[in-house]
Symmetry: C2
Subunit: 348 residues, 2 copies
């Protein structure tokens, strides 16, 4: 099983891992944002490969550049790649490693909260293709992931909030007490020391889910909580040229899906109010939607990659915090009702 | 485990498989050589994707075209791809399927002997990159492979001989009686009805080896018998603008490695003469090598992808037909001696 290391002493942890793996060559992959961290962490004689940052650069052109570097600099099946960055770097770098010479070992060093809690663990690697997110990729786990809150101090507040939304999701789909502890945490004025143990229990939730269902055939679908509605909100905002961060969209998508859970699975209404209060406090910067946006939102939900049966919109629903029901569907009119309630709850 | 179907009734076999898998969409991948077969086999409403044939087209450009077709024609995770062709089509198509939406199911229909015995089974998929063979790829097995001798009647004799060399290899690394039966078979005037049961036992050898070691960490290395010397002979011939088919090069490479086996592992000399007789009869169209070629051959062997420790040349050796020793090394001077003996045995 994948090694997960929670530490703020990242350099010695990485050195120890590399010594264990005993590779012939090491490459560190970073983007322009994480170059300095990569330089600080790089062992003597490691190559540093820098790519452009941002989801718009998670593409075949940059993937080919990474393959080309590995090919032309003598990397072998015994080499190791270290992906230093957020989800974009670990997704692209993981896929490059998974496919170079049919697969070399790789380590992820998560430098963002969203990356730590979402992308670095779980084995989903890949790139966007023809503007479709993660259209090309592979399931391949990093041999080890290093997670530290040390790099988060300089992150923009939005990145922290986005990552925290994924943490909330992990609480909701696993154990009520984890979710309760997160509701009590102040993400707007985050104390990073206090965050580390919460992050550790949280990433372990994800790891357990993935270990039980590595190929997303059952339980792992629970990780999609909030994502069907969230992706639709995110795509709509993008179409209107007011992009919102993925994690913020998911935070709102979770409220929509909690409402559906209330309507279809008995999720308690008191929890809706409690969660909406958190959204209004920490995630109140999303564009207003009106009922004239519903057709576009429904269209976007219907196009979600997880809908394998045409005409049905799939959701992960909750009976209560900590208790999930996967493979649920909702009708268009239920979703419209949920969107009405959502708009009431977030006071728009 | 992967389903292996040996039949000359290919169309109903494929229809049965597809009915079992119950996909939402089916794409058949072929090259210009196998287009007619693909059209004959295609179920109603299946897409046919045609790529250019030949190892020189097993590249990222054509892979992207396949991804693009799947992306823009509504293929989902529930879709199935059917690769109809030789190793080039099953390698590229298998990799396209293994990475589209992080992996969809695929079936291989082998239309060449080499493809049937080598590429279609075993889960090695990939493309060439920067002129390096199979530099980018993944280990992913087809859910099913259909093998028929029906398509071999129109193949050039060289393709049959190439495939037969791989069959000999499977005999040599598994069971003496399999190898003996092959030595008695006349591949120059091949009876395809007689070949089918030999092919079935042979492909099953490969499947057993792969099942025991899917990621090539131990036993599977036995499948490299003949390939270290064979690749060097193949590359040298290519550098001299007298390309020889891969299988023919491997047939000769196996003699070189049998001689090393005789020198280092007690492989019986009588077997060398028996095998050399087969080469002189069925594989006598390779360019002459002289001792002035030795430095180039040694250089090429040293660059083989399987050499993970610099300065050592790895080989799979044989104690006897059916008994392998993996992870063996040989010195340059032993290899030179083996090449001397090889030249004597093949009468050049």
């Amino acid at each position: 099983m994948q090694q997960l290391i929670f530490t703020n002493e990242v350099k010695p942890a990485l050195e120890g891992l590399i010594a264990e793996l005993n590779p012939d060559r090491v490459a560190l992959l970073c983007d322009t944002n994480t170059r300095r961290i990569a330089e600080e962490l790089a062992p003597v004689r490691a190559d540093i490969i820098e790519i452009l940052p941002g989801d718009e650069n998670k593409n075949l052109t940059q993937l080919s550049r990474v393959w080309e570097h590995l090919s032309t600099h003598g990397f072998t099946r015994r080499s190791v790649m270290v992906n230093v960055g957020g989800g974009m770097v670990t997704d692209l770098g993981g896929f490059a490693a998974a496919t170079f010479k049919r697969g070399i070992r790789f380590i992820n060093v998560a430098t963002t909260l969203l990356g730590a809690v979402d992308a670095a663990v779980g084995g989903k690697t890949g790139i966007n293709f023809l503007d479709l997110k993660n259209e090309i990729g592979a399931f391949q786990e990093a041999v080890a992931v290093i997670i530290s809150t040390r790099f988060f101090a300089t992150l923009p507040p939005t990145e922290l909030r986005s990552g925290f939304a994924e943490m909330l999701k992990h609480g909701l789909i696993s154990r009520e007490e984890i979710y309760r502890r997160l509701l009590e945490f102040d993400i707007v004025n985050a104390d990073l020391e206090e965050l580390l143990p919460l992050l550790e229990e949280n990433v372990n939730v994800k790891r357990e889910v993935v270990a039980q269902d590595p190929r997303e055939q059952g339980l792992r679908k629970a990780l999609n909580l909030g994502h069907t509605a969230g992706h639709a909100l995110e795509s709509l905002a993008l179409e209107r040229n007011h992009p919102i961060p993925h994690g913020v969209a998911v935070a709102h998508g979770m409220l929509v899906e909690m409402i559906l859970s209330h309507m279809q699975a008995g999720f308690p209404s008191a929890e809706l109010y409690r969660y909406a209060e958190l959204l209004n406090r920490a995630y109140n910067d999303v564009p207003t939607i009106t009922c004239s946006d519903y057709p576009a939102l429904l269209r976007l939900m219907a196009h979600d990659k997880k809908n394998t049966i045409p005409g049905q919109i799939n959701f992960t629903l909750l009976e209560a915090p900590g208790t999930v029901k996967i493979d649920q569907t909702a009708t268009e009119s239920s979703i419209q009702t949920a969107l009405d309630l959502y708009r009431d709850l977030i006071q728009v």
